[in-house]
């Protein structure tokens, strides 16, 4: 199990050359080998969504993938959302709507919602709730998360 391979991961547009065991998860690699600890691990069995990152634009559970599977693909994490120090509309909406308490689930929700709004900016409320129900939050009771995503969607639309 200890034979390692050299791979290059592209995280938020930057290349990271890492040496990993084939069994090493993408989540662990992003965190420990690339040093991007904004991506969190809440269950390691694909339920909580704290580890959600965008892989070629699609939200995926990075705890369920091996790092070697992500080679050559474009990985985006929470660290890449703010451009030149300016928060993305979603990040700002999370603050304005008190959509986080402990903040542990937040990177996962931000990446999930970023992926969703990029794909479907006009998503309806029911469908949005349905999508957001794929991640867990233990602190907020979700209502402010839903509110924040809706308000960010509106801001983004106004800015289009």
């Amino acid at each position: 199990m200890t034979e390692k391979t050299d791979i290059t991961l592209t995280v938020n547009g930057r290349d990271f050359a890492v040496t990993v065991e084939p069994r090493r998860t993408l989540a662990d690699t992003i965190r420990d080998d690339c040093g991007q600890t904004g991506t969190h691990i809440g269950c390691e069995h694909g339920v909580c969504g704290a580890c959600t990152v965008l892989l070629d634009g699609e939200p995926v559970r990075s705890c369920l993938m091996f790092a070697v599977q992500a080679e050559g693909r474009e990985i985006r994490t929470v660290e890449g959302l703010a451009a030149d120090g300016a928060l993305s509309p979603l990040q700002q909406a999370f603050i304005d709507n008190h959509a986080l308490q402990c903040g542990f689930c937040t990177p996962g929700f931000l990446m999930l919602a970023t992926g969703v709004l990029e794909r479907d900016p006009d998503i309806g409320e029911d469908e949005l709730r349905e999508v957001l129900s794929s991640n867990l939050c233990r602190c907020t009771g979700y209502q402010n998360i839903v509110k924040a995503v809706k308000s960010a969607a509106a801001t983004m639309k106004a800015g289009r």
Partner: protein, 771 residues
């Protein structure tokens, strides 16, 4: 002066905590890495009860990357984990050793510890340990007959805890009606989204033992660790960083915390442990599980003459840091908002072969509110009095305040401070439009829908004393540092404290840097539990900030040549009230004048800083009520919540937006406990809920938006700010209100007797009614 939000008390300003958390720059336990650290992995017991026959670690020790493997023999010198409040002799035999000695008593109990260079290697090595157990019969229900705890003659009934007053037997003898019921609350827990983590580090250069990843009660755990390792208090320090949810379970002193410290001391290398989710569900404190046999004596009008409650508290395998806290609390708060002439509660404190239990948000109150409110419904139904009318007749009134009971919660005599319980109920009923709602529900039921409404009332407690302190310092740049012994578990502590400080001092809350959870910054601290932080630490912060304000005005009065009482401070600038646009001086300048080297000191103590203390003899008792409207699907047994109203009198809200957040979050947890979450065990004590696929946390689909009626009608007379805690109000009444609403939806009075009301349980009820 500008009129932008300064974050005064009462303003819903955004949180100081958020910017790093939305950008991925948080620093949770898993994000902390120290040079040359080792990773710990535990081998945990696969059996619920058994004698350890062999633990062969040779193969594991020989594996690549493995530094050491420990069993009980390696930590013989480390005592079992003590109680937070110090020695409690009669519970001492039931304390947990950090690695199992001779026997294992629950699935998940640590048996051996592997230390390796990499977490994957540590896990491989733990798998290679050969352990054999001789399985013993398991006790899996706290209401079953007690058995032997050990070979020294201790039984699994650790204690019988009683509280009460008056002559209960006499009351029952003369009662017009006696109503008797059995109610069961399931086993659930806080389950924060971040699992636990601990990093032990021995700083040999300064001879200091450090524990990183601390939470909740760092100062208390520091005392415990110092005792366990025989070190002076100032040679042990705990550090809290970001914490991914606490809810009562995180931050207690667990075996793993002590293990990483012991290993760091012995190896001279940092040792890191991060819990995985399966471990979390097996090893972190469970809570709630109780079976109550309760009876009420009432007169012909439904007035409560007496309550007599006997209950079985399923403690799990060991008594952890809390001792008997939950069971005592249950006894002390069960009467809640009602006048009960005579009262007796008898709690059987029973050990079972399951994960040890302790507090989870609203400990003793979620349980007792369910039991009491179910009992009130039963009395109402049996006597043919309306469920609301019965509550009105029995509620403690504003004229009874302060209302003292010869009961104790958390070592504090119960004395409700103030409030109009029925008044708040009326406001909540008004808010939902109760009569119209009833008519609508009736119409829908007549059309075949299973819809109904339920109400629960409760009294909370918060702000346990006796004392807490805080330090405020303004530096020459005008920046403010507030050092507290509080802890932040994600509830917005920094923002609330900054607001209180800013309000008292006269600065923008964004200027205040709040320090918490660092034992090397402040000598004492109460941490964050039992909804104490806002009340105790907040009041201490207020004191300290007022002292700094007074000192600033004193210096400014010299500089501005005006008496101090003609001056005011806003946005960090001191000016004359009668001439706001005239001469002024900034707090930074005043701090400069107070440098020890300055002549301007003029006999004052150097520094624009002060330490403030707040002392309190009694807790404060916020109160509230919940109203649930549910719809039951008769085919699937699914319960959908259509509306949920929470009315809560918080006394005074520091930041209403954060209070609302606390209450919505608490509600979601209450809903989990009412409908979905449960740690299930089979008859051999094998846990069945070990992943998020079996232990079901509510998602955005299940949790409806709540309607919150936040009132500030009854500011607490017990602290200068009038504040009461908010942490638990969302949870407390949920089980009770949902149960009552389900009864109503099914038109089966008293149907729900057990939480959670899973679809399976509801199907059984419905099928039973059909036969």
């Amino acid at each position: 002066m500008s009129d932008r939000a300064m974050g005064r008390i009462g303003e819903s300003v955004t949180r100081l905590e958020d910017p790093p958390l939305v950008t991925g720059r948080g620093r949770f336990a898993g994000d902390i890495n120290l040079a040359h650290q080792l990773h710990m992995r535990l081998l945990r017991s696969p059996v619920a009860h058994g004698r350890i026959k062999t633990v062969d670690v040779e193969a594991a020790r020989a594996m690549p990357g493995v530094y050491a493997v420990w069993t009980f023999d390696d930590i013989r010198d480390v005592p079992p984990i003590d109680f937070r409040e110090g020695r409690i002799e009669k519970y001492e035999p039931f304390r947990q050793y950090i690695l199992a000695r001779d026997r294992v008593r629950y699935v998940g109990e640590p048996v051996a510890a592997v230390f390796a260079a990499d977490p994957y290697a540590a896990e491989d090595a733990a798998d290679a340990i050969l352990a054999e157990f001789e399985e013993l019969p398991a006790i899996t229900d706290g209401a079953d007959a007690p058995g032997a705890f050990d070979d020294a003659g201790h039984r699994t009934e650790a204690d019988i805890v009683t509280q009460g007053y008056g002559d209960v037997e006499k009351a029952f003898a003369k009662a017009a009606h006696v109503i008797e019921r059995e109610f069961v609350v399931g086993r659930h827990s806080g389950v924060p989204l971040e699992t636990r983590g601990a990093i032990g580090h021995y700083d040999a250069a300064h001879d200091v033992l450090e524990l990183h990843g601390a939470a909740k009660v760092p100062h208390r755990n520091r005392e415990a660790l110092a005792r366990m390792f025989g070190r002076p208090l100032n040679a042990v320090h705990l550090f809290e960083s970001h914490v991914g949810g606490g809810f009562g379970v995180r931050g207690e002193l667990y075996p793993e915390d002590v293990l990483v410290c012991a290993a760091a001391l012995r190896f001279g290398r940092p040792v890191k442990w991060i819990e995985d989710r399966m471990e979390h569900l097996l090893a972190t404190n469970h809570s709630r599980q109780q079976r109550h046999r309760i009876r009420a004596a009432v007169d012909a009008d439904g007035r409560l003459l007496a309550i007599d409650d006997t209950f079985f508290h399923d403690q799990g395998a060991y008594i952890r840091t809390h001792g008997a806290r939950v069971i005592t609390m249950t006894c002390g708060i069960l009467p809640g908002p009602y006048k009960v002439a005579d009262y007796r509660a008898t709690g059987h404190f029973r050990l079972t072969n399951k994960t040890p239990a302790a507090t989870y948000r609203s400990p003793g109150r979620f349980e007792s509110t369910f039991v009491r409110e179910r009992l009130m419904d039963a009395i109402a139904d049996e006597l043919g009095i309306g469920r609301l009318e019965l509550r009105r007749r029995n509620a403690v009134g504003p004229e009874d305040m302060p209302y003292a009971l010869p009961l104790v919660v958390l070592g504090d005599d119960v004395e409700y401070d103030n409030g109009d319980y029925v008044g708040l109920l009326d406001k909540a009923l008004d808010h939902v439009g109760w009569d119209a709602l009833q008519a609508d529900l009736q119409r829908r039921r007549a059309a075949g829908e299973a819809v109904g409404a339920g109400v629960a009332m409760f009294v909370e407690k918060s702000g346990l004393g006796p004392s807490d302190g805080a330090k405020v310092t303004v530096d020459p740049s005008g920046a403010v540092e507030l050092i507290t012994g509080g802890a932040s578990i994600g509830q917005g502590f920094e923002t609330c404290m900054a607001q209180i400080c800013a309000d008292a001092l006269g600065v923008d809350y964004r200027k205040v840097r709040v320090v918490h959870g660092q034992t090397n910054r402040i000598e004492f601290g109460i941490g964050a539990h039992a909804s104490r932080a806002t009340v105790m630490t907040g009041s201490a912060t207020n004191e300290a900030a007022l002292l700094v304000r007074a000192k600033a005005l004193d210096v400014a009065s010299d500089l501005l040549q005006a008496p101090a009482d003609t001056l005011d401070i806003q946005d960090g600038v001191v000016f004359r009230k009668d001439n706001p646009d005239g001469p002024s001086v900034g707090l930074g300048e005043i701090a400069t004048q107070l440098l020890p080297t300055r002549k301007t000191l003029g006999g004052r103590e150097p520094g624009l800083m002060a330490e403030g203390w707040f002392h309190s003899d009694h807790q404060t008792y916020p109160f509230g009520c919940h109203i649930a409207v549910v719809k039951v699907d008769r085919e699937t047994g699914h319960v959908g919540v259509e509306r949920y109203v929470i009315a809560y009198d918080i006394g005074r809200a520091v930041n209403p937006m954060l209070v609302e957040g606390q209450i919505s979050g608490g509600f979601a947890q209450g809903l989990g406990g009412a409908l979905y979450e449960e740690f299930v065990y089979d008859e051999r004590g094998q846990p069945q809920s070990v992943t998020f696929a079996d232990y079901l946390l509510p998602t955005a689909r299940e949790v409806p938006d709540i309607e919150l009626l936040l009132r500030e009608d009854a500011p607490s007379p017990r602290n200068p700010l009038g504040i009461k805690g908010a942490g638990e109000a969302g949870v407390t009444g949920v089980g009770a209100a949902i149960a009552s609403a389900i009864d109503d939806a099914l038109q089966m009075p008293g149907a729900v007797t057990q939480l959670p009301v899973t679809p399976q349980r509801l199907k059984v009820l419905l099928d039973g009614a059909r036969d």
